[in-house]
């Protein structure tokens, strides 16, 4: 009987050690630090997002969870081919698009191909064919051209176009 009580007490102590550690105060402090670090990281550095819609298929499938790295463009400007998050009036809902046109470039579509400064842009990530025809337009000094990878839909129904640099929240991580 006594042994049973001792065994129970030992088990209880073992469970307690696993859950809250030998020094509960230190464990509480660690948890607090972890919570603060997670809060800072996932609020200001890596924004968690859930992909909705199919405009970035097949690279980004619907309902996939991803992250937006807000520090990606701290030391260099956005580059062609980058998949970025574009802010609306805030960051609760963002557009996820690929950059195909850089500031000062002439962007258009001909026979379904993206034409940058008069030359066809190689886009291995595009798996669908289309017949988009968009008249070429020269981008401003602070403007980028964004488009989705899924070009299966008519050009008029696909959300794409020009936005200034400040709209780019960050680069999609995965």
């Amino acid at each position: 009987m006594c042994m049973a009580i001792d065994g129970g007490s030992e088990a209880h102590s073992w469970v307690r050690t696993v859950i809250i550690g030998r020094r509960p105060k230190r464990t509480a402090l660690r948890i607090l630090v972890l919570v603060v670090v997670c809060f800072i990281v996932f609020r200001f550095v890596l924004l968690p997002i859930r992909v909705e819609g199919m405009s970035m298929m097949p690279a980004y499938k619907e309902n996939r969870v991803n992250f937006v790295n807000r520090l990606a463009y701290l030391f260099h400007p956005p580059a062609r081919g980058d998949v970025v998050a574009i802010r609306t009036s805030g960051i609760s809902i963002m557009f996820m698009k690929r950059i195909i046109g850089l500031p000062g470039e002439q962007v258009g579509f001909h026979h379904g191909h993206a034409i940058i400064n008069g030359e066809i842009l190689e886009e291995p990530y595009v798996r669908t064919t289309c017949d988009w025809e968009l008249a070429p337009k020269v981008l401003g000094q602070n403007e980028y051209y964004f488009v989705g990878d899924n070009r299966a839909m008519p050009a008029a129904d696909h959300t794409k176009g020009v936005a200034p640099r400040w709209r780019i929240v960050g680069k999609v991580l995965l």
Binding site: E52, G53, I86, R87, T88, S89, G90, I91, S92, I93, F95, K97, G108, D131, E133, L134, A135, P136, K137, F146, A155, A156, D157, H158, T159, K160, G161, V162, A163, R167
Partner: protein, 187 residues
């Protein structure tokens, strides 16, 4: 003994300070409840508008009429709604009556509609009689796979003590600067 007296006095002052701070906090809170700032009033009004526009399932004609009228009440008589969204030509709705008619039609046509206004940025004029709101509309229509996401700019005016929307304009997050051209048969 002297230390004890000083300690008790200190404790009394700490308690008094805490009580004064609590009373001050309560006063500020009551003030904001009784006299809310225009920012707060507009945000609440927009939340109420989103709720009024949303509906679940088909409504009876009487309910449609009443709810459409409730929605129209959020707008001024001379309201202007300028819509320019991908996939359709630009449209202009002028006046509360036209808006009311469209609202009724939408309620009859759609199975359900859930509307939310997100990320509301407000700029209130110095005389606090007008305001501009930049927000993102998120709408879910029954039977539609994708949600509708549209950035909007609203102009609000304070009329007879109530904030009413005078102008609604769609904002192109990604501006389509170019026109879609016809597919050419040559080359």
């Amino acid at each position: 003994m002297a230390h004890c007296g000083e300690g008790a006095l200190m404790k009394r002052w700490v308690w008094r300070s805490v009580l004064i701070l609590a009373a001050f906090g309560l006063g500020v809170w009551l003030w904001t409840i009784l006299f809310p700032s225009p920012d707060r009033v507009i945000r609440k009004r927009l939340a109420n508008l989103a709720q009024a526009v949303s509906f679940q399932g088909h409504e009876s004609p009487v309910a449609t009429l009443a709810n459409s009228s409730r929605v129209a009440d959020f707008f001024t008589r001379d309201v202007e709604v300028k819509l320019d969204v991908p996939g359709s030509s630009a449209q202009m709705i002028q006046g509360r009556d036209e808006l009311f008619a469209i609202e009724q039609r939408v309620r009859l046509l759609l199975g359900s509609l859930q509307v939310q206004f997100l990320d509301i940025n407000l700029v209130i004029s110095s005389d606090k009689k007008s305001a501009e709101a930049n927000l993102t509309l998120q709408a879910k229509v029954a039977g539609e796979r994708d949600q509708i996401v549209q950035e909007l700019k609203l102009q609000l005016n304070k009329l007879e003590g109530s904030w009413k929307i005078q102008r609604v304009e769609t904002i192109k997050t990604l501006s389509r600067m170019e026109r879609h051209v016809q597919i050419s048969s040559s080359d």
